[in-house]
Amino acid sequence: MVVDEGWSLVPINPRAEVTQARILSNRKVGAYHHIAFEAGEIGRYAKPGNFIAIAVGGDFSSMPLHRVFAIYRAKAEGIHASTIEIIVAAHGKGSEWLVKQSEGSQLRITGPLGTSFPLPAEPVNVAIVGGGYGSAPLFDLADHLKTRGCRVDAVIGASTSSKIFAPLDGKRTVNSVTVTTEDGSAGVQGRVTDVLDELIDRQRIDLIYSCGPMAMLKAIDEVAQRHQISHLISVEEAMACGIGICMTCVLPIKDSKGIVKMTRTCIEGPVIDSERVLWSKGIPEGTWGAP
């Protein structure tokens, strides 16, 4: 169903570079911050689904580790350099610091990192499903899908309306947007999976792309499996380095020969074909090298 455009799913992004990025703007959008950077060549090579790793805390930081964020939008040409945009939910120490940085601040950014969403070879019917800030990378993807003649329907869910990220131009790109909130403060009250079944049937969905918390991805996958349609997911595991050298971001994932390995989701992910994913927690029995 999907074609791998050159290197979408190839481990270790060959375009990664380290750059001193400059904040072009930083503004609040609902519960999130939308931050735009001028970032060397990163924006030129970024593909939908890629992420960046940001060094946080400034020159005398007590935080030695990267923070990673999906690329929301990338532009190959800015005034001085390419640009990238991210959507940040202030969460712990590093992201709290990040959302306080003002225009003009210089940050060290590494990217683009990780795999990206492979695109379908033919114009098919696609659903994109995003939870919380997980919708951020999906609109750029939708753009690419539309160019290839796909129909794209979006389902965007969150616990509450302020956590729905669905920008106007993103909404314009897709054929339809269904919003779900758990508290009913916007759209349909409930979860994305509550509306997905019906959407799949109605629009004869051939392919789902989803991004959000693991529990949501798992629930979506059950729906996808029931309908026997392909499902590409972007996973979110805690990452210390984001570049494949620390082994913290692992998940049990099947390799091409079907062997389950604790796989680094920063270089073999975040975008993964859901077929390869074992949804169990911990290290499943039979994992390669398991005791």
Binding site: A55, H66, C246, M247
Partner: protein, 308 residues
């Protein structure tokens, strides 16, 4: 770049420069090779390899701490066979120097690993990570027990022959690190790697349970640098002729110089690469210009100067 002669030695292995990666903080090189040519390094120290493939510990495997981090990776890796078949040839093919780190769960396993490595072409040195629990001795870490530490190094010495210098990597979690150093030197270690991580724990503020899947983990990063400098200084004072590969919280050329002045002949960069993939190269350049500023024409003259 400056004119300082950065070449250094660990026993009979010579290196063009003293900045190495740290075991477990650079995998086998492929990932960092995206960012700089691995030939820029004094050597790539590969992730500790075990006899068999290993899935490692359950996640979460890390927690950030003030100026440091805990990890409980649990030595995930492909095992020695695949390592020798795929990872090492790839690495050597880049032209980089390779220091191979090994780890075992029993003295015999270290012996078997050494036999597999015997005669393998292109390796520059063996780093023996003895900060692993000894399954045959109530899970006591080899590096924390004089007899176990000695037994491992003796076994490696016998099985590997005299082909590569043996660097024994010690744990700081002991009452007197110079005692353990003495044991492994007597057992045949040609050099020492100082220091491995400190045992630590972080408790989750929400669940009030240990964050890490493995409950405890190893503390690394700038937070532990003063402990590393102290350990290197103590051991170098007692065994000035034994070369030391220093590590622990090095994030700048100045940090590397501290370890060198304390007695290290070369320096591994670990956690710093997690926040800056170019850290090893930057540190090398900063070190060179600092040495120049101090009037050293070769790095060898700086090794151990804090003792003079």
């Amino acid at each position: 770049m400056s004119d300082v002669d950065l070449s250094t030695e660990l026993a009979y292995a010579k290196f063009e420069n003293p900045i190495f990666t740290a075991s477990g903080c650079a995998s086998s090189g492929k990932e960092l090779a995206q960012f700089f040519p691995l030939t820029e390094l004094g050597a790539m120290v590969t992730k500790s390899i075990m006899l068999r493939p290993r899935s490692g510990r359950a996640t979460p495997r890390m927690a950030e701490t003030p100026s440091g981090m805990l990890n409980s990776i649990g030595l995930q890796g492909p095992g020695i066979d695949l390592f020798l078949e795929e990872d090492l040839p790839w690495l050597l093919n880049t032209g980089a120097r390779a220091v191979v780190s090994i780890a075992g769960e029993s003295v015999d396993e270290y012996g078997a690993l050494s036999r597999r490595l015997r005669g393998v072409k292109g390796i520059s040195a063996i780093e023996v990570n003895i900060s692993c629990p000894n399954v045959e001795n109530r899970g006591l870490v080899f590096a924390c027990d004089q007899a176990s530490a000695r037994a491992v190094i003796e076994t490696v010495r016998i099985n590997i022959g005299g082909e590569y210098p043996i660097i024994a990597k010690l744990s700081p979690d002991v009452t007197d690190i110079s005692l353990i150093a003495g044991e492994v030197i007597n057992a045949g270690a040609d050099g020492l790697a100082l220091i491995n991580t400190l045992l630590g724990m972080v408790i989750d503020s929400e669940t009030l349970k240990p964050v890490l899947g493995g409950k405890t983990g190893g503390l690394s990063g700038p937070a532990i640098r003063p402990v590393a400098v102290r350990a290197i200084y103590q051991v170098h004072a007692k065994y000035p002729k034994i070369p030391i590969l220093g590590m622990g919280g090095v994030t700048s050329g100045g940090d590397a110089l501290q370890l060198i002045a304390a007695g290290a002949s070369a320096v591994s960069v670990g956690t710093a690469s997690f926040g800056d993939p170019l850290a090893p190269v930057r540190i090398k350049e900063e070190l060179a210009s600092l040495l120049e500023g101090h009037g050293f024409s070769r790095i060898r003259d700086a090794i151990g100067v804090a003792h003079v």
